[in-house]
């Protein structure tokens, strides 16, 4: 019984939130890794791309809410998601046309493109703050819980509750769907194969008649979809604040590098690794230990390894360990 309680507490506070957070990170890291693999630079504007996409989704959610359209019990934001993806894709393609194409034609060094992406980051960040402001926005509606802690207790007669939020389930299902479609696209379709060929060997791909501009176009379309979905899911699960999205850049990059930059499978594994370590290390373990340890060993403190504010330190530490011992990442990534 005690042990069962411990497992419930653990899944309520650690496993389920970490799975949801991991899915969001994985989707973000997939976007970073695709840009890195195909366009060959580290895109620092990715966090702000996510913020932009989420902002558009929020604006349309508000509009839908005001005219009374809803898909309850699901959050309205899901309805706004396709529109947000289209708008974000238009922004990314516009940016590519106006800014990035020039450097691609020049065959600029990746590090120059990185600095260009800093400029793009500034512009997107300014846009988002200009349009929606810097404040916190909550936009999730519909049913809040699939099963709330109280219902769970009543149902099972246990002392500990297990709450599953709707947004968590939506996050995981969407992430699985998106990843499945992405891998099907990359591995089965002609365009996807040409993208992989372009990523593996640009010259050889060009030689076999692959149109580079077409590859770039599809990459941005996919990145727009991934970034918007990841951002909206994160915003639904927690809340939307432009600065937080900028800060997500660090765990996302850590996830992409840990998995091996340029490797989509690695990005997913990296996302979950980072999310689980972050939640594990910043969680206060007191309750779990109380249930699992004999009474005389019961801990007196919170048993929290690190304060929540230090969650960046976790992604950073994992990043350092991987860089020190396996610089190409856990799965084989590219190294330029």
């Amino acid at each position: 019984m005690e042990f069962l309680h411990a497992i419930i507490v653990l899944s309520n506070f650690v496993v389920i939130p970490a799975i949801a957070y991991g899915s969001q990170l994985a989707l973000g890291a997939l976007g970073v890794t695709l840009v890195y693999g195909i366009l060959r630079f580290s895109n620092f504007a990715h966090g702000d791309t996510m913020a932009f996409g989420t902002m558009v989704a929020i604006l349309f959610t508000w509009w839908f809410q005001s005219i009374g359209v809803s898909i309850a019990p699901l959050p309205t934001a899901l309805l706004a998601l396709p529109i947000a993806i289209v708008v974000t894709a238009a922004l990314l393609l516009g940016t590519d046309r106006v800014v990035l194409r020039f450097y691609r034609k020049q065959k600029s060094a990746p590090v120059i493109l990185l600095i260009v992406s800093l400029g793009i980051m500034f512009v997107y960040n300014g846009l988002v703050r200009f349009i929606i402001g810097v404040g916190d926005q909550r936009f999730s509606d519909g049913a809040r819980f699939i099963i709330s802690a109280r219902d769970f207790k009543k149902l099972t007669g246990l002392d500990e509750g297990l709450a599953i939020k709707t947004t968590q389930v939506i996050t995981v299902i969407t992430a699985i769907l998106v990843v499945a479609i992405l891998f099907w696209f990359l591995n089965r379709t002609r365009t996807g194969k040409s993208m992989r060929a372009f990523s593996d060997n640009e010259d050889l791909a060009l030689l076999s008649g692959i149109n580079p501009e077409r590859v770039v176009l599809y990459t941005w379309l996919i990145v727009a979809a991934l970034a918007t979905i990841a951002g909206t899911l994160y915003g639904l699960d927690k809340s939307f604040k432009p600065f937080v999205y900028f800060q997500l850049l660090l765990p996302i990059f850590a996830a992409a590098i840990v998995g091996g930059l340029g490797n989509p499978l690695g990005a997913i594994a990296g996302g979950f690794l980072i999310a689980f370590s972050e939640v594990f290390i910043t969680y206060a373990w007191k309750k779990v230990l109380m249930y699992t340890l004999p009474e005389q060993f019961a801990p007196s403190g919170l048993m929290q390894l690190l304060a929540t504010e230090y969650k960046f330190a976790v992604s950073f530490a994992i990043l350092l360990v991987v860089l020190l011992f396996k610089p190409t990442g856990l799965f084989k990534g590219k190294s330029l």
């Binding site: 990746p110 590090v111 120059i112 793009i120 300014g126 403190g301 950073f316």
Partner: protein, 434 residues
């Protein structure tokens, strides 16, 4: 010769902009722009050392600047004896234990050759070390933070003159740079960027959360100044008489005098650093650095140790940023850990370096002044512009109000566009490297 005239022209133009600010707005704000411009110029000089001369991508400037700020608190504030009695030694012991643990684990790493044994023993050692460290530290921290939390609640500093904090800030930043450089240098340039981004967030998180050291978000106010206080000046008869000779009332004269005194100190530091940087750039060492930047393989073939050269210049550049951070906190006379934002303290410095001209010391100084000037002035100009454009609208229309409200965010947009345009059309900057 032509180049020199252009340089003089550009610098006088920026100087003129500041003077115009003095006439149009007020001399107080002109001197504020000048002082922060001097500090920004020092920061961009440091980043230029790393990026312009060595090609190292540091996007963690904010962290090094924050360490400089921490140095001013640790050096200049008066110690709090009650807090030291309550738990100071305990905290000190805990920190020493932490350092020893890490040093020993490095030793284990070097001694044990078998990879899996090494991993297991280091993990066990570090994890148990971490728990012992926490059990030593935490009671001390709780005790210290309980001592009069509204006024102190921290250990205080050494009570030394604040000017000592500037080199100490440089040393702290150099130490952090050493740790980063040791791990991330020698890998791809993007990895260094991510690693520095990470360390800067961690440093700022430490400043915000370790109340026993920095009072966290409660801020440390009233850091002693290297220049006289306005009130003392106003009380001095001599000063009041001299001010009257210039036709100024004592209040205005004292604030201006204090700002000018700061400008003198900062200018001195900047001149010293420019002199060093220019000498370094023209020396064999500088040529070697540029050779490494332009062609690593060739430089390595000539027998240059690239990794340690990179480490050297990375530490030097970060130390310069640390000095600038200490100067900035000295100017503010308070440490506000909540105010460190990466866009302002990392990426804006990048705009300065790129706009000014990467690889050119004078260029990055010019960029520092110009971009800082724009950063301050875009808001009033933007407000005026939006007001003008939306003037035909109803004065209470929500669009107009929203636009006027969001003008403050316009500076990010402007800076981004400025950076992109410069990169596109003048990638070598306003004063290009020779």
């Amino acid at each position: 010769m032509n180049e020199n005239i252009k340089t003089y022209f550009l610098f006088s133009a920026v100087f003129l902009l500041i003077v115009i600010t003095g006439f149009v707005q007020s001399w107080n704000s002109a001197l504020f722009i000048l002082n922060m411009g001097l500090i920004s110029a020092v920061m961009s000089l440091g980043v230029n050392l790393q990026w312009g001369i060595a090609g190292l991508l540091n996007v963690g400037i904010m962290g090094f600047v924050g360490l400089g700020g921490l140095a001013t608190v640790l050096v200049a504030m008066q110690p709090v004896p009650e807090a030291w009695n309550a738990g100071g030694t305990r905290i000190l012991l805990g920190l020493i234990f932490g350092v020893v643990t890490i040093a020993l684990s490095v030793l284990i790493y070097k001694k044990i050759k078998n990879a899996s044994w090494r991993f297991i023993s280091i993990s066990i050692f570090l994890i148990s070390g971490f728990f012992i460290y926490k059990s030593i530290l935490t009671p001390g921290v709780i005790a210290v933070e309980a001592v009069n939390p509204a006024a102190t609640g921290y250990l205080g500093g050494l009570g030394l003159p604040v000017l000592f904090a500037w080199p100490v800030g440089g040393l702290l930043a150099a130490g952090a740079a050493w740790i980063i450089g040791k791990t991330a240098l020698g890998l791809r340039s993007d990895y260094l960027a991510i690693a520095t981004l990470g360390i800067s967030e961690i440093i700022i998180a430490i400043l915000r959360n370790e109340d026993w050291m920095t009072r966290g978000v409660k801020n440390v106010a009233g850091i002693p100044r290297p220049v006289p206080y306005e009130i003392d000046l106003q009380a001095s008869e001599d000063f009041v008489n001299r001010a009257a000779n210039f036709g100024l009332d004592p209040t205005t004269a004292s604030t201006l005098f204090v700002k000018i005194a700061y400008a003198g100190l900062f200018g001195l530091v900047l001149l010293l650093l420019v002199w060093f940087s220019q000498r370094a750039l023209k020396s064999p060492w500088g040529r070697m650095m540029r050779a490494i930047r332009d062609n690593e393989t060739a430089a390595e073939a000539m027998g240059k140790d690239i990794k340690s050269r990179h480490l050297q210049i990375f530490i030097l550049g970060s130390a310069v940023c640390g000095i600038a951070g200490a100067m900035m906190t000295t100017l503010d006379a308070q440490l506000t850990p909540g105010a460190y934002q990466p866009l302002r303290f990392t990426f804006l410095i990048w705009v300065m370096v790129i706009v000014g001209g990467s690889g050119s010391n004078l260029g990055s100084i010019l960029g520092g002044f110009l971009v800082w000037f724009l950063w301050v002035q875009v808001e009033p100009i933007g407000y005026w512009l939006v007001d003008l454009i939306t003037a035909p609208m109803d004065p209470d229309s929500p669009i107009r109000l929203h636009l006027l409200d969001s003008v403050a965010q316009m500076r990010l947009l402007t800076m981004g566009l400025f950076l992109l345009l410069m990169l596109r059309f003048y990638p070598r900057g306003m004063i290009p490297e020779k």
